[in-house]
């Protein structure tokens, strides 16, 4: 057990009513060093979101160990050391943008975690003009920026993001990726990022965890040795494309390693 990394050892989880021979997560071993940006990628059903929720302490598991910086996921949440950005922005529609961003500081005060100034956070995501607006007045990209600002608000030790940009158009998505990297470099937190976009994983990560489905396993862990900061030049360079091809090849072999999904029509 080490306090400078997230350690997942032999993690196995079968959903109630699921096939016990094909667990959602099957013997997952994973190490994520502090301040690293790690992406989980894989075909649907590979358990990447489930793994994220187990690390977040939102779901239990059958066997194995999960320690987050020497602590349990539950204790991390008690200390308000975990930030979560779900797939949908999950804002409270009756609160304006500023109060949504400052929500974490008003909940579970006992943890006594100081938080960033909400106006400062909104400036970082470029939404200082929208502080008094309500979620229904914002576009999808703006809402997701609010959710990111909210998650960064407590300066969490661990930031968990579950396909946060999957519902956005490509242009907005790329802009938000660079904005996220910028914030991450300022705040230097550990990020676990679930995605199904190869390009997104390569753009953002230090390491990419490729997973295979049925059962959910870690297929391969690929390092991303692109220089930081990752500006537009780095992201459009030839090395980037080589890495993308490498991840795609790995995903292909992960796909072949797992059993075909039941709902796929046989050829």
């Amino acid at each position: 057990m080490s306090d400078d990394r997230i350690e997942v050892r032999g993690l196995t989880k079968t959903y109630e009513g699921g096939d016990p021979l094909r667990p959602a997560l099957d013997g997952i071993d994973l190490e994520i060093p502090r301040r690293h940006f790690v992406s989980l990628i894989g075909p649907s059903g590979c358990g990447k979101s489930t793994l994220l929720r187990v690390i977040a302490g939102l779901e239990g598991h059958d066997s194995g160990d999960v320690t987050v910086f020497g602590s349990t996921p539950k204790h991390m949440c008690e200390a308000k050391a975990v930030g979560l950005v779900p797939q949908t922005p999950a804002l409270l529609p009756w609160l304006n943008v500023r109060r949504n961003v400052s929500l974490p500081s008003r909940v579970n005060r006992r943890a006594g975690r100081g938080s960033e100034d909400p106006d400062q956070l909104l400036r970082m995501v470029g939404l200082d003009d929208a502080a008094r607006k309500y979620p229904h007045e914002l576009s999808g990209g703006m809402k997701q920026r609010v959710a990111i600002a909210r998650a960064f608000g407590l300066r969490p030790d661990l930031l968990l993001m579950d396909e946060p940009f999957s519902a956005l158009d490509e242009f907005t998505r790329e802009a938000l990726q660079l904005q996220l990297l910028n914030m991450w470099e300022h705040m230097s937190t550990t990020v676990v990022f679930v995605t199904h976009s190869v390009r997104e994983a390569v753009t953002l990560s230090d390491r990419i965890v490729v997973m295979s489905a049925r059962p959910g396993r870690v297929h391969e862990v690929l390092p991303v040795d692109l220089p930081r900061p990752r500006d537009r030049d780095v992201v459009s360079g030839p090395h980037m494309h080589a890495l993308e091809d490498r991840v795609r090849a790995s995903l292909q072999s992960a796909w072949e390693a797992g059993a075909a999904p039941d709902d796929l029509v046989p050829l």
């Binding site: 929720r53 977040a56 302490g57 939102l58 949440c77 008690e78 308000k80 975990v82 930030g83 979560l84 779900p86 797939q87 949908t88 999950a90 804002l91 409270l92 529609p93 009756w94 609160l95 109060r99 929500l103 974490p104 008003r106 909940v107 579970n108 943890a111 008094r132 309500y134 979620p135 229904h136 007045e137 909210r150 968990l160």
Partner: protein, 281 residues
Amino acid sequence: MATSTPARPRPGHEAHPHRRAPRRRRLGLGIGLWLPTAVAVVLFGFAWSAIAEDQPYLLPPLAEVGAVLVEDPALFLDNAWSTLSIALSGVACGAGTAFVLSLLMSEIPLLRRAIMPMAVVLNVTPVVALAPALVVAFGFGMTPKVIVTAIITFFPVLINVTTGLRSVSVPVLHVFSTLHASRMEVLFRLRIPSSLPYTLAALRVVFPLSIVGAVVAEFVAAGSSSGLGTMIRNSAATARLEYVYAAVACLAAMGVLMLALITVLERRLLFWHESQQRPTS
């Protein structure tokens, strides 16, 4: 606490460009919206008058109904107030109890299983049948009438608030979980505000229903001395139809006022909810 947040007046909101455009458009549409209603009302009036002239025992002439109202407005106001106070007290008791019970049931599943079946039985019991017994038990004062109204308004609120408290989006719950929010924090910051649209929808049903409850209770409590229901019963017994319909008109006006009040409340409290958003072209 959390419920009070949306009610805050929002300065600067008026200046929002998206808000102003539809308002102007609504004014433009005004005639188109009101004209069909106005025409229908006038036609209805003519039909009424035609019948009233032919068969005065079927419907009283509208002029007589109006005259009765104008002659002694205090009579109608007093009786209306009597009925209204029963209706409102009934709603306060019935809806209030239902709201508190919903909160308790959402937190304690055991209580839910204990109360829900009884509430369903209470709902299918015809309250009109219960009313005479209540009069025997509580006399001719306000108490039995308030109880009847409370029973009628109880169930819709109970069902709606219970549903509303459970209609919380899972991702938001996950965010609250990672913050290790307490049950009370989830209840007050998340569940109660989420249930507001359901609560107000229930009030929209229950307020007019409360008038029905009050009138029925007045019908049954033979010795009651005031109220529009009493007035209708006594006037009908002596075939003074103009008084009956004047009282009915008062009841209708009370119902409309209540609905208007709920609409205003919805606009204020639910400005964030889908139901209050107008489609932007």
